[in-house]
């Protein structure tokens, strides 16, 4: 009951205060009016009462304005109304038809003042009326007829009951609606949580895929074909992310939390990404992708390139989706203004088109128009809604025009500032170039394609300020070649094949360029050139400038590293070793001193002993997650820990995540997969300015240095034993080098793991034993030790099923096999297993086996001191490459009768694992052992 009343009061207290104030004011006004009438009619008592009540209402109104108390205004005004009504009753003002005035009080009162105040007031007024009419009190007032005494209270009672009931139903209905709304909000929040989890689950593996591709692309010694494939993998990975990003973006935009990140960008890079994506999407469709880009667009634009690319990709994806024949034309132009340029991008197609009615609902969320016709077309229906909102947030406009059945055109324009006004494409010695493009325009069924190619060639000639002409028959081409000296001849694959001999002959003194699709590409003679479709200004310029389009792309990628910070110390914290490798790899071009930690706790320990300039902290980690770790760091004593920039590095990029991270003590937020542009921005924003330097020439191709020496290590002959290299390579992603690296870690950790399993077995700690053998099962299979993996699996199942007898029976054989596998692995890699036992590594240097040194030359103490000094310096500057290089120099020597390789290999291994402290300790021990303490 009380609960019910509390709810009613809460409802009443949520009334619109302005309306209540107005009612009070209205009652006061009526009071004054009646007072005036009474003064005129000389009814002084009535005048005094109505005037007094009116003044009372004014006081209530003013008090209410000051205090804002709804209860005060309700009680004050209702009391005035009540007194006024009682006065009418006493004086006969509600006799006859005038009864209506009194009967209006309950419905209006309850409606305005809600059930709590209005209902209570109506009941109270009813009681007062009954008391007055049914007691001798009524004799003091107006003489009502006999029937009135019964009729009036009954009518008033029913009036009140009906009013209460109606308003109760109304209140109930509102309450239900509110509950439904809350339910829907909760459901919406649940959806948000689901999205958060989903984004994390999808983004984490995608981080590895996209990031590893980035690392491969940075390698300088891969073939163009592998580079191309890798490029495609990376782009496809990104496209997979786009679906979830759409949903996340939309929720961000809707809540107004979408932030644009403005930075300098080159439209060439954007176009390349768009084209790669479009080519992948096009697949086998019989459509021509035509790109008409104005070469004069400035090379340096300032805007949110990621978002601009997102919108173009979305428009192109839609165009490709809804076009089965003909062409998709991407046109990029500019108009110059005082503030920079207006960048216009138009994507038109010869697809199914959109009817006028459907254009009106085209930008609605979650809606695909003409769904009957487009049943086979997938999509979230969010793309255009997002694109439109993104363009709007950039201060631009997106619009569409379409002819149903013939095609559509989507255009957007955005104002951008310019940082470098040089054209993004230019031709060297343009006046010396005379090129002809031979395209058989009659082969295109859709005339629009032919028209677009004509326009394209005309625009190329004008834009590149060079002589390029279009010839559409072989006869015209041959005649033109006979009469004019061309430097370049461009021909699509079909035209080339049809006139192969002619082109071969022409290639003696001209550059013949075959333009073909990536799919079904033919091999062309090495002295000719090939460019992949689309045939557009950048690819044409690359050929005319005698450059490779891939070189251009690589230059673009490397040029995106616009600074290095060799003195910057960075700590990356992530529990996932693959993510750590990706992050470290991505940061390598910046030449920073990077250290890693695999847990929040480890990060705190490292931070206690070393100073860093920047920390990248993963969000979700076992035991102590990123948020807890950051809070713990901030709570540490000293200004340094309060000011240390900590960036949340996470795949959880949903709406509200940024706020959560900032409020948890992080300085910024970087979503995974790590985008080079985001990393670039983040480093520039948070690293001390004095540490940022321009890259020197030798730093241009930074990738792969650490891996090269390993490549030179002679590979042991493939042996069939407990480890199947083939299986291992398969499970480690098909890369031998990655396999060797993982096998190295497996071997080095084996002694520690063996001891652990032994201890757990002896303690009969089956719970942890199962965890360890489970891990052994997975890691053994990863390195190709299938037998051991199966044995571990058997023991894991036995542990889970409580079959401890089986464990006791098979534990020893499993450990024996584990030792053998580790030994075999060590032998394959040419590393020493004993020295890698982490538990005993402190004494490893002292206990290292003495190797026959007869064949190894003795190194001078001076030279060894020099090497050790280098290692110390490299340890201090976290330079793993230098440590490895120094260690390798000792490999061919011995000192004081001891082979140096087994002593220095563990140091190199520590450097590989970023364990610089351990590497330093080991080096100090070696120096002490050999009496080289003066270093």
């Amino acid at each position: 009951m009380w609960e019910f009343l509390r709810e009613l009061k809460k409802d009443a207290d949520e009334s619109d205060s302005r309306t209540l104030g107005l009612i009070t004011f209205a009652v006061a006004f009526i009071g004054f009016f009646m007072c005036a009438v009474n003064i005129i009619t000389r009814s002084w008592v009535m005048a005094a009462i109505t005037g007094g009540l009116s003044l009372w209402c004014i006081v209530v109104f003013l008090l209410f304005r000051k205090s804002g108390s709804l209860m005060a205004v309700s009680a004050g005004t209702l009391s005035a109304i009540g007194i006024m009504m009682m006065y009418f009753l006493v004086t006969g003002g509600v006799d006859g038809f005038s009864i209506v005035w009194l009967l209006l009080v309950p419905p209006i009162g309850i409606y305005c003042y809600k059930l709590y105040y209005g209902g209570a007031f109506s009941i109270l007024l009813g009681i007062l009326i009954a008391v007055y009419l049914w007691t001798p009190l009524h004799e003091l007032g107006y003489d009502y007829s006999d029937t009135y005494f019964l009729r009036f209270p009954i009518v008033y009672f029913f009036d009140t009951v009906v009013s209460v009931y109606i308003n109760y139903r109304l209140w109930l209905s509102n309450k239900q609606q509110r509950e439904l709304l809350e339910l829907s909000e909760r459901a919406n929040n649940t959806k948000g949580d689901f999205l958060a989890n989903m984004s994390h689950e999808i983004r984490t593996p995608m981080n590895a895929i996209v990031g590893m591709c980035e690392l491969i692309l940075r390698e300088s010694d891969i073939s163009p074909a592998v580079r191309e494939y890798c490029f495609n993998i990376q782009n496809s990975g990104r496209s997979l992310l786009s679906i979830i990003n759409d949903i996340l973006d939309f929720s961000k935009i809707e809540s107004g939390k979408m932030e644009l990140i403005l930075d300098e960008f080159n439209i060439a890079s954007t176009l390349n990404d768009v084209i790669n994506m479009a080519v992948t999407r096009k697949e086998d469709k019989d459509i021509e992708l035509i790109v008409r880009a104005d070469p004069d667009i400035p090379i340096g634009l300032i805007g949110d390139e990621i978002r601009i690319r997102q919108v173009i990709i979305n428009l192109v994806t839609n165009a490709v989706k809804f076009t089965n024949k003909g062409c998709v034309v991407i046109k990029v132009t500019q108009t110059k203004h005082d503030y920079g340029i207006n960048l216009s991008v138009s994507v038109s197609d010869t697809g199914i088109g959109i009817s006028a009615e459907n254009i009106e609902k085209l930008f609605n969320s979650f809606q695909q128009v003409d769904t009957k016709k487009n049943r086979s077309v997938e999509g979230t229906g969010l793309g255009l809604a997002i694109s439109k909102r993104l363009i709007k947030s950039m201060g631009g406009f997106l619009n569409v025009s379409s002819v149903y059945g013939l095609g559509s055109e989507f255009r957007f324009v955005i104002p951008l500032k310019v940082s470098d006004s040089r054209p993004f494409i230019s031709i060297k010695d343009a006046e010396k170039i005379h090129a002809a493009g031979f395209i058989d325009l009659n082969k295109f069924e859709n005339r629009r394609v032919a028209q677009e190619y004509k326009t394209l060639i005309g625009e190329l000639a004008e834009g590149l300020r060079t002589d390029i002409e279009l010839l559409d028959t072989a006869e015209d081409l041959k005649a033109a070649v006979a009469s004019k000296k061309y430097t370049h001849l461009f021909a699509p694959k079909d035209e080339y094949l049809a006139n192969e001999d002619f082109f071969k002959e022409q290639s003696r003194d001209k550059t013949v360029v075959v333009v073909q699709d990536r799919q079904g590409a033919i091999d062309i003679p090495s002295h000719m050139k090939c460019i992949f479709k689309p045939f557009y200004s950048l690819s044409v310029a690359s050929v005319l400038n005698n450059e490779s389009i891939l070189t251009n792309l690589n230059e673009r990628r490397d040029s995106s590293i616009r600074f290095v910070a060799p003195k910057a110390r960075i700590l990356i914290v992530d529990d996932n070793i693959i993510n750590l490798k990706v992050a470290v790899g991505l940061m390598r071009p910046y030449h920073m001193q990077v250290l890693t930690a695999d847990s929040g706790q480890a990060a705190i320990s490292i931070l206690r002993s070393k100073d860093f300039h920047l920390v990248f902290m993963d969000h979700m980690m076992p035991e102590m997650d990123g948020v807890e770790a950051t809070k713990a760091i901030r709570a540490m004593e000293g200004d340094y820990y309060k000011k240390l920039p900590i960036i949340a590095l996470t795949a959880n990029a949903v709406n509200g995540a940024r706020d959560m991270f900032i409020s948890s003590g992080f300085n910024d937020f970087m979503p995974k997969p790590i985008e080079m542009s985001s990393l670039d921005r983040m480093l520039k924003a948070w690293l001390p300015k004095e540490l940022i330097k321009a890259p020197s020439g030798e730093m241009r191709y930074p990738g792969g240095d650490r891996r090269k020496p390993r490549n030179q290590t002679p590979q042991p002959e493939k042996k069939e034993g407990l480890i199947s290299e083939e299986t291992g390579i398969f499970y480690t992603g098909g890369d031998r080098e990655a396999y060797n690296e993982i096998l190295g870690v497996y071997v080095r950790k084996s002694s520690e793991k063996l001891l652990q399993i032994k201890e757990l077995f002896e303690k009969k700690d089956w719970k942890n034993y199962v965890i360890e053998v489970h891990a052994l099962k997975s890691s053994s299979l990863t390195v190709g030790a299938k037998q051991l993996s199966e044995l571990a699996k058997e023991l894991e199942l036995a542990g889970k099923g409580g079959d401890y007898r089986l464990i006791e029976e098979k534990n020893a054989p499993m450990l024996e096999m584990y030792s053998k596998v580790a030994a075999e692995g060590a032998e394959r890699l040419g590393i020493s297993i004993e020295t890698t036992d982490t538990k005993t590594e402190e004494t490893a240097a002292n206990e290292a086996p003495v190797v026959e040194t007869a064949e190894l030359p003795e190194i001078s103490a001076e030279k060894l001191s020099g090497i050790i000094k280098r290692i110390f310096t490299a340890c201090d500057s976290f330079d793993g490459d230098e440590i490895s290089a120094a260690c390798r120099e000792t490999a061919e020597y011995s000192f004081k009768g001891k082979a140096l390789k087994p002593l220095f290999d563990p140091i190199s291994a520590d450097a590989d694992d970023f364990e610089y402290d351990s590497a330093r300790e080991k080096t100090e021990k070696i120096a002490a052992e050999f009496g080289l303490s003066e270093v």
Binding site: Y339, N342, A356, K392, G395, N399, R411, V413, P415
Partner: protein
């Protein structure tokens, strides 16, 4: 008939569809729309829908400006490379600086400018469009520039350019009516009917009540005397009207007067930004000799 070829240039505010412009080889000089984020070329970079949405969704301030003299000069020079003389049929000088800027461009061109004629149409939108088509037809027929201009001057008085707007909000925003009038119109569902008279926008009348009914009444009143209408061509020019509304208007016009050609065109962003959404006009030419 003259030997000199005459080329016609118009402004995007003539609201003519692309196919007509292409058919008569009419070049277009675009007006500009300035928003808080940048300057956009009407029709090419920004459409009526864009600017209406920008204004109604709280995008900020915006204003339309006439093309710069340089834009006119570039257009004149381009046209003069093909034609002997050029006529620019411009939006009314009473509501835009277009004529003034065009004349500045002509002055800057020196002797070459003598081959350019700037004609002040005293109309806007497809009222101006009617005159542009007429000029192009005459030019195609080989009339001299002077003769074309004389014909246009005669025609200018016969063009009927009227619009009905759903409310006075945009008129108030652009300073054409005071806020009190806007409130009054809004409170009593009054829909202003505007007319181009002597080169200026004036209030021709009002329609009261539900907008659909008011719109149909406007159509009937505008076409109430078919005998005085040159039934060759009529334009229905809309700003932010739904397809349903347009179809309703078309049906009503068909019931009122049998035009040979009926074109539905979209108002340019410049026109739309001044009149607001759900505005449309029925624009036609009165027959020769009809009382004005």
């Amino acid at each position: 008939m003259g030997d000199k070829k005459v080329g016609i240039i118009a402004e995007c505010v003539c609201d003519l569809p692309k196919n007509i412009l292409h058919e008569f080889n009419i070049d277009i000089v675009c007006h500009l729309i300035e928003t808080e984020s940048g300057v956009f070329t009407d029709t090419e970079e920004i459409t009526a829908e864009n600017i209406l949405q920008y204004m109604t969704e709280g995008g900020g301030k915006s204003r339309s400006t006439a093309p710069l003299p340089e834009s006119y000069e570039a257009a004149f020079r381009k046209k003069l490379s093909v034609y002997d003389e050029v006529i620019l049929v411009s939006i009314s000088s009473g509501i835009s600086l277009s004529c003034e800027n065009a004349r500045k461009a002509v002055a800057a061109m020196g002797d070459e400018g003598k081959r350019v004629h700037v004609f002040d149409s005293l109309h806007l939108s497809t009222g101006l469009g009617h005159m542009v088509i007429k000029a192009a037809q005459l030019a195609k027929a080989g009339f001299t520039a002077d003769k074309i201009i004389a014909e246009l001057e005669e025609m200018r008085e016969r063009v009927s350019t009227t619009f009905i707007t759903e409310n006075a909000d945009f008129l108030c925003r652009n300073g054409l009516v005071p806020d009190s009038v806007r409130r009054f119109c809004s409170a009593f569902s009054i829909h202003p009917v505007l007319e181009m008279r002597n080169g200026r926008i004036v209030l021709k009348g009002i329609e009261i009540g539900d907008y659909s009914s008011a719109a149909l009444r406007y159509v009937r009143k505008t076409l109430n005397n078919p005998k005085k209408i040159d039934t060759k061509r009529v334009f229905i020019t809309c700003a932010g009207c739904s397809v349903k509304t347009v179809n309703m208007i078309k049906r009503e016009i068909e019931g009122c007067c049998a035009f040979e050609e009926m074109f539905v065109t979209k108002a340019s962003a410049t026109i739309s930004s001044n009149c607001g959404p759900n505005t449309f006009g029925v624009l036609y030419v009165k027959s020769k000799g009809a009382s004005l």
